[in-house]
Symmetry: C2
DNA sequence: GCAAAAGTGTTATCGCTACACCCATGC
DNA sequence: GCATGGGTGTAGCGATAACACTTTTGC
């Protein structure tokens, strides 16, 4: 590639967004929203939502804004994934992309914005994307699957309240294997981060399950990285 | 802070470099090289080695070059740590820093470059650094300590060959606790990544220990992040 | 009653920790 | 021999996996 002399390095922020939605057969799987590129280079190809970093906006704020304008949703979980900076990622220009990954709530995601230039696709059957975005999505998927053990991730797909079966289903979809209901229950309860709401979900032809809420108040953020102050969201 | 209109975001690459060197009492601990800032802002303060990203250089290459010019050494381990991008990290300008962390070999580090503007300090007694670099070092230390379990990290501090006692000492320094020699031996050997060289180290008033070499050839990079090729795992 | 999922109990197994003990060397 | 760390054996403990079993609902 050739660079104009004195051309600066440009800095972009992109976000890999995950939500659980039913596939064609009705089984929930991971989905990701993409946006169509409306200008060169790679015009017409699908790409991760993102844009140039504005001079007055923090990285994470830019990722959250991107996410909101693409999906209409607020992230339940937002974390920096990696910064991609090979010289030839984009033709003509040198672009460094700080990439975030986010989880959004499934039921809300079902009614998320769509349009001719926004499209949700199953995360494991991505079409050909612009630039190196296929590689980025694969890496984000890997991080999601290895990190879901750290528990609060699964909760980010759900609403404020949920049953243990719903929580287990999230784990099963992300990890792509079945989990023993009995052992899952004990492991989750032993973590001490689930609070009973006192309610039960009725209507199904079986014993009504207890409804839980996630522990948010106390010193729950133990497995998270320190970073001395706050964090994005949990 | 005020930003000039149209002022671009500037992109820097910095590196937190770790090596094991003896402290004043002769016990090896983690050390980090710092460089003195020779221009504004924050002139005179110590800071992480780094610089602006050249338009034709990949991020990791820039980190490796920085490391070489600061220490005269080549990294045994080099990995992206995090990208820091708050709006007010630097006065006057908007600077986003892609930070790498590196491990260099201890015996070589002992004879590393020094000068009036380069200084090694113990990693847990950092002086006040420029910008947000103290926070960055703390985060790098945390990553080192949590990730050393993934094994090849400890090896990066040592030379090509080493005894199990030397390897264990690295772990003990990084983790800041004693490890049971018997259990450490079994765990390491069970990992399958240590190869006997057939040699032994003699000279000490006790049974001469076997000398090992680290497995580099085969599919050893299993715990490393995938980056598209092979398997997620772990 | 029946089906289905919630929820409980029990056992086997694996991995890790603690610690006792033997081995080979320099002096 | 003695001291010192290299190296081996093994019992206990805690976490997890597997799976049998009981409970409570809708129909």
């Amino acid at each position: 590639m050739t660079l104009r002399d004195g051309a600066p390095v440009r800095l972009a922020v992109s976000t890999v967004i995950f939500a659980l939605r039913p596939d064609h057969a009705g089984h929930p799987v991971l989905w990701t929203p993409l946006v169509r590129r409306t200008r060169e280079p790679q015009r017409g190809l699908w790409a991760l939502p993102g844009g140039w970093l504005p001079p007055n906006e923090a990285l994470e704020a830019a990722a959250a804004r991107t996410l909101r304008s693409t999906t209409g949703l607020a992230p339940n979980y937002l974390e920096q994934l990696y910064t991609f900076g090979e010289v030839d990622r984009s033709p003509d220009e040198r672009v460094v992309s700080v990439v975030y990954w986010a989880l959004v709530q499934s039921d809300e995601a079902a009614q998320a914005t769509v349009g001719p230039n926004v499209r949700w696709v199953p995360a494991d059957t991505m079409p050909e994307l612009a630039f190196d975005h296929n590689r980025i999505v694969e890496y984000a998927l890997w991080r999601l699957r290895t990190k879901v053990e750290y528990a609060e991730l699964a909760h980010a797909f759900l609403g404020a309240t949920f049953t243990l079966a719903e929580l287990r289903e999230v784990y099963e979809i992300v990890l792509q294997r079945r989990l023993d209901p009995a052992n899952f229950r004990r492991t989750m309860l032993a973590s001490g981060r689930l609070l009973e709401t006192g309610e039960r979900a009725s209507g199904a032809p079986h014993r009504p399950p207890k409804i839980y809420r996630y522990e948010t108040t106390t010193a729950a953020a133990q497995t998270r990285e320190p970073f001395m102050r706050e964090r994005p969201a949990s």
